[in-house]
């Protein structure tokens, strides 16, 4: 059940595993949950860059997930402001700000609502530099949106649309797994000279808590992280699902004596093929898992590339454990999500292939 996943992930993150190595030399830290880590990143950005502005629906009072609490009071109403209810306007407006060289941080209230802005993202933002031969660009645009299942979100508050954007050269797509990762990756997106989409796992906004540096720091984009080394199977995921596969790795070790290498992809586009392929060459087996539907999901891209690059190293077909090819359901969520049992079962079959 989802509660188990949340509880496990809170424990896991509080234990500081996987992020302890990131903390050295980053100065004073503070206990933050994921939305507070986002606020901290935004605070750092607005403090450092006088051109930076944050806008979207309801950001002025602090945002429906409290990511922008306190920022309007601190930086002024011309820098943190509400827009009308219009996602294509939010993104288009953000592109325009970025074109003048100012830093634009746009919030889309739920990733499920990003589709009215799809034309602006794909046809305008992604192509701005290319079509003008680098005369113009909107690189200082970052779009943030809450992402992924939350237990009761149903069709329009649970979606993971990263696959739609993975198909779009010219933008970057990033998904953090924890507060520490979120702040570092978001700051990298804001600094990055290309338009970026930053999806924030909403179920982790409160559930994930850890020590996060107060000062700014960055985590590189397009670099996957091996959060646990192993020798028998490579497990790849991003966002919330990283915690699921971490648990599956423990189960595999305990019940099957199987050693798993766990990778957090972190950046979906452009993605770090080298780290994933290097791992599969070592282990010979790959399992990829995401909440988004199976067909056309980003696991297909990873699977296709790995079989091209590592064909002779594979001991078993690549396994994808994903959401079903349905809209994200309401009451059936516990049956829909690629939980640890489904991942464990797929892993077991792969080992016995």
């Amino acid at each position: 059940m989802m509660d188990d996943v949340i509880n496990q992930s809170v424990l896991w993150i509080q234990a500081g595993l996987g992020t302890k190595m990131g903390l050295q030399d980053k100065g004073q830290t503070q206990k933050m949950n994921l939305f507070q880590a986002v606020t901290s990143a935004l605070d750092n950005s607005l403090a450092k860059d006088p051109t930076a502005v944050i806008f979207g629906e309801d950001v002025a009072f602090g945002g429906v997930f409290r990511c922008t609490v306190g920022l309007r009071d601190k930086y002024g109403k011309d820098r943190v402001f509400n827009t009308p209810l219009c996602e294509q306007g939010i993104v288009g407006f953000g592109i325009g700000i970025a074109v003048t060289g100012a830093t634009a941080i746009a919030e889309i209230q739920f990733a499920d609502y990003i589709f009215p802005a799809f034309d602006q993202i794909v046809n305008e933002a992604a192509k701005y530099r290319y079509r003008s031969g680098d005369l113009f660009n909107c690189g200082s645009l970052t779009i943030r949106a809450p992402w992924g299942c939350v237990g009761h979100g149903a069709l329009y508050h649970s979606q993971s649309p990263e696959a739609f954007f993975a198909h779009c050269p010219g933008i970057k797509v990033v998904v953090p797994r924890s507060p520490f990762q979120a702040k570092g990756l978001l700051l990298s997106c804001i600094e990055d000279k290309n338009p970026c989409i930053f999806f924030e796992p909403k179920i982790l906004y409160r559930a994930a808590v850890e020590q996060v540096p107060v000062e700014p720091y960055s985590i590189p984009l397009s670099q996957a992280e091996v959060i646990q080394e192993g020798s028998d199977v490579t497990l790849v995921a991003w966002g919330t699902q990283v915690h699921v596969i971490r648990e599956v790795a423990s189960m595999a070790q305990e019940k099957l004596g199987v050693s798993c290498e766990v990778i957090d992809l972190r950046t979906i586009l452009p993605w770090d093929m080298d780290t994933v392929c290097k791992s599969v060459i070592k282990t010979g087996r790959l399992l990829i898992s995401h909440e988004a539907p199976l067909t056309g999901g980003f696991a297909s891209e990873i699977s296709s590339t790995v079989q091209e690059e590592c064909f002779l190293n594979l001991e078993a077909p690549i396994s994808r454990v994903c959401g079903y090819d349905t809209p994200f359901p309401h009451i059936f969520e516990p049956f829909y999500i690629p939980d640890k049992w489904k991942c464990y079962d797929a892993l077991r079959k792969m080992i016995n292939y």
């Binding site: 294509q88 325009g96 009215p116 530099r129 660009n137 050269p169």
Partner: protein, 392 residues
């Protein structure tokens, strides 16, 4: 009164109504509440509050007669003009009194554009370029508006929402720049226009929305594009200062854009200019407009109401232009365009390796691999590609 005070504490401060709001509920006969109150409570009347609605969403008077507002399409927003169709100034106080040199620059820009259009349209027919769109009949809208801007102003063709964002950034930077965004009456139907107008108004942006209403979106006439009073009538719906002008009158376009620019920057608010004009040419080299409109209609505009003709009459009536200068200028502008065209035609196209540049600021590893794959492919199969026209 203790009840009122308590309720006002709960509701009043957040609604900005204080005690008065609550007392509205206690007006005699209002939903029977008065009857449920204890007898010793005093009914109080506040006529000024009774007369005015208190809704946060709109400030207006009450009306007690059911009547729908009739959209005004027959006699809609009037068309501002300075010259008549013969190029004569109608109201001397509206004449911008521009110096001869500047008006000649208007004329030469419009006619040079016209010359370039003719040559480039022909060159597409000859297969020398792939595609072209002419400006026939709309030269006044381009030149009149551009002449009213500063050199540092930002011009967006389309990209309505982005134009608003750029204007917002210009305002924050105290840049003293206006942003102008051009679009047609067809593009005004896209959600982009709605988003652009609404954001520009709510976020108080120094932007001019310049709509060229030329009667057609490819083959779609305005009667199939909208049912309201054109685009200008939409502006007030968003709280935007709006005007409709004669787009074939370069001085009307100039005056309106000049004033809109001054006020947009000074007051940080958007302006909407709907320039009425007519698309004399086809939509593009891929279009043959005889399929959907009559030759007579096109001829009327070409002969009776053309921005270039009207300005020429103005110039001639002042003795600033004559037939001899016209002949010489036609020859000179044609030569100018041909020389530029031939020079451009001689240049080889950039190297195919640049296909992969500028997708991102830096080239990702995956893209570099694809670039190398194409290079290898061309080494073996290059004869099947038009490599002669490209730099190495």
């Amino acid at each position: 009164m203790a009840v009122a005070a308590a309720a006002a504490r709960v509701w009043g401060s957040s609604r900005g109504l204080g005690q008065a709001g609550l007392l509205l509920l206690r007006r005699p006969g209002a939903r029977g509440l008065a009857r449920s109150l204890p007898q010793r409570q005093v009914q109080q009347h506040f006529p000024s509050l009774d007369d005015k609605p208190q809704f946060p969403g709109a400030s207006a008077e009450f009306v007690d007669k059911l009547e729908f507002i009739q959209p005004n399409v027959i006699s809609g927003i009037p068309v501002y003009r300075v010259m008549d169709r013969q190029g004569q100034i109608i109201n001397p106080s509206e004449d911008p009194h521009l110096p001869q040199e500047k008006v000649l620059k208007f004329y030469k820009s419009m006619t040079l554009l016209n010359t370039m259009d003719r040559i480039l349209y022909e060159s597409q027919r000859q297969g020398r370029i792939s595609f072209y769109m002419t400006n026939y009949g709309e030269e006044g809208t381009h030149v009149g508006s551009a002449a009213a801007l500063d050199n540092t102003d930002l011009v967006f063709g389309q990209y309505r929402e982005a134009a608003v964002g750029a204007a917002y950034a210009a305002k924050r930077a105290n840049a003293n720049r206006v942003v102008i965004c051009y679009f047609g009456e067809g593009a005004a139907s896209e959600g982009d226009a709605h988003a652009g107008f609404n954001f520009a108004a709510t976020l108080e942006c120094p932007i001019i929305f310049f709509c060229r209403n030329n009667g057609y979106a490819i083959s779609t006439p305005t009667s199939e594009q909208y049912r309201g009073d054109g685009i200008a009538a939409r502006g007030p719906g968003y709280g935007i200062m709006s005007i409709r002008v004669d787009g074939n009158d370069v001085f009307a376009v100039y005056n309106a854009t000049k004033e809109a620019r001054r006020r947009a920057v000074a007051e940080n608010q958007p302006f909407l200019i709907e320039a009425m004009t007519y698309r004399i040419g086809h939509h593009s080299t891929s279009d043959d407009s005889s399929a959907y409109r009559s030759v007579d209609e096109v001829n009327y505009w070409d002969k009776q109401d053309h921005p270039i003709s009207r300005l020429r009459h103005y110039l001639q009536s002042r003795g600033w232009w004559d037939e001899e200068q016209e002949k010489a200028w036609r020859k000179q502008s044609r030569k100018k365009v041909m020389e530029a065209f031939e020079q451009a035609e001689r240049k080889p196209k950039p190297s195919p390796s640049l296909l992969f540049s500028d997708v991102y600021q830096e080239m990702p590893a995956q893209l570099r691999k694809q670039q190398e794959a194409l290079a290898r492919h061309l080494q073996t199969y290059g004869e099947h590609y038009p490599l002669d026209h490209f730099e190495k």
